[in-house]
């Protein structure tokens, strides 16, 4: 299956001109945040890239990531890019089911041992193997078994990358990320809930053309996760001027002011949402008037509340503050009276001494 039908041949078959291909490469370069001078290299790499076998594993997930990536193919060349991999197993998208499906996975693993790419969406439950299983194989076993012969793993979505929603406090299934289990393979994390479709395909394109991209300390490709949403946000000038929406329907919100006070997590969230945007660059959450939830960051479900400003405390501060008020006043009154009593006692114990007694004491000693 992966006897590498090269991209140019396929494009020719689809009646795509070389000029269209160059145009696509230029746009892809821009999307991957690479310098424009790299476009010819991307073109060359795409032309010569072999077609790797891909096994897509879905664990504790909502299929949102798959839904999203299927929406990425609006420009037909991206469809071609997707055609330039051989998706041998994806239990939501593949036609085969049951034994035939699992057989496809096993065959791909055997045939392309050491060369295939594994894409994972969803987290893996460790508390009970039965919490999530496919064809009677627990997620943990399937991941270990499939990762063994993989060239690399792409963790798509925040669940696979960092644990995501299943791992949110109190983490009832003991969910963990792929990188918590697999330690000996290169892992590319493409977090997001879901990730931007174009980012997913661009990372795959990058893998096909240049191999593993530059990753940050959280395993994310730097091309898409190097800058905070806040730094690229079109509402940033309002933040700098000190103009903030106080509620979702006030005059400030209507004028497009900064959503920081309404809980926007843009300042601590790294993603290209503000520049690449969503739905074919139509908009992104902040442009739609809602603050960023921070979905590309680990533990974003437990970041202190989606509608709480980042600077607001995240704990039990209200109860603590009230307790402190009562305790402080009570202890203050108590301490005050104690001191008063000590003072009174000291006064009572005080012996009056006159000069004669002192002189007497002195002569005695």
């Amino acid at each position: 299956m992966s006897s590498s039908p090269l991209l140019p041949k396929m494009m020719k078959a689809h009646g795509v001109s070389r000029r269209s291909f160059l145009k696509y490469c230029a746009s892809l370069t821009s999307l991957m945040a690479l310098p424009p001078a790299m476009a010819p290299r991307i073109a060359h790499a795409l032309e010569t890239a072999p077609r790797p076998s891909v096994i897509w594993l879905s664990f504790q997930e909502c299929t949102g990531c798959t839904e999203a990536i299927t929406r990425s193919s609006a420009p037909s060349l991206e469809e071609l890019i997707f055609d330039s991999i051989s998706l041998d197993y994806h239990h939501t998208l593949q036609a085969a089911s049951g034994y035939a499906a699992e057989q496809a996975r096993e065959e791909a693993m055997k045939e392309h041992h050491g060369k295939y790419l594994v894409i994972v969406d969803g987290s893996i439950p460790l508390d009970e193997p039965g919490f999530s299983a496919i064809a009677g194989i627990s997620n943990l076993d399937m991941l270990k078994e499939t990762a063994e012969g993989a060239a690399a793993i792409v963790s798509v979505g925040t669940c696979a990358a960092y644990g995501g929603l299943p791992q949110a406090n109190p983490n009832p299934t003991g969910a963990v990320a792929v990188s918590d289990i697999i330690k000996d393979k290169p892992i590319i994390n493409v977090p997001g809930c879901p990730p931007i479709p174009m980012v997913m395909t661009a990372v795959l394109a990058h893998y096909l053309t240049f191999g593993i991209p530059d990753l940050d300390e959280l395993g994310r490709p730097k091309a898409f996760f190097a800058e905070s949403i806040h730094d690229r946000c079109y509402r940033r000038p309002f933040y700098d001027k000190g103009l903030f929406a106080e509620s979702f329907d006030d005059a400030g919100a209507r004028a497009g002011w900064c959503l920081y006070k309404l809980g926007c997590k843009g300042p601590t969230t790294k993603s290209v949402c503000a520049t690449v945007k969503w739905n074919d660059s139509t908009s992104f959450p902040i442009e739609a008037g809602h603050g960023c939830l921070g979905c590309t960051e680990p533990d974003f479900w437990d970041n202190g509340g989606f509608y709480k400003p980042l600077s607001a405390p995240a704990g039990e501060y209200r109860r603590m503050g009230q307790a402190a008020l009562v305790a402080g006043v009570a202890a203050g009154i108590g301490g005050g009276y104690l001191a008063k009593k000590n003072k009174a006692k000291a006064q009572a114990d005080h012996e009056t001494v006159d000069a004669f007694t002192l002189e007497k004491e002195e002569s005695e000693s």
């Binding site: 959280l218 300042p267 437990d302 607001a312 203050g332 005050g336």
Partner: protein
Amino acid sequence: MNNPYFDLLMFARGPLFDLALLVFVAGILIRIVEILVLGRKKDFSKAKGKPVQQGIKTIFTRTLPRPGAIKANPITIVGGYVFHIGFFIAFLLFVPHIALIEALTGLSWPGVGRVIIESATVIAVIAGLALLYTRWKDPVRRKLTTWVDYLVLILSLLPLITGYVAVNKLFGDPTFMMALHILSVDILMIVFPFTKLMHAFTFAMARYYNGSIQGRKGAES
């Protein structure tokens, strides 16, 4: 997979802040209530002036330096002013801080833009460093200074410095720097009731007391 910087930030915003708030609020209240409960010995003499009026007046008049003070200790007086004003602009007019105060108390007011906040921060830090320098340079003041005085001054400067670095992403991971910023504030809140930082609350009481004693004797402040 966790982001250790994020975990630190959540610790600083969460449990540690709660603890800091407890120590801060309870500590300040204990000290103030204690002072109030202890009270003062009643003065049975007939008032020659207006003690209450003079007391209140003194709270404000003592805000200005007495004549000649600026000439005698220019850095201490001017630096002191600049530090306090800069600190309070950065603290009370930066909108994320207002959001914090609103979350705690429900009170809110409009903030100002980044240029003012950042200029105030930089100027306050420079003033604070100048104060630190004069304290250390002058042999008399150096003798009078305890390690707690240095600690308090440095702890007051740290939130300004870490906040500036975090917001401008000067160096380090921004999330880590933000965690450090909030940590530095937590620590400042914890040491607050036990150090001379208490002057932020007791200054009014002390000035009123001084003013009313003088006022009772008929002196004008």
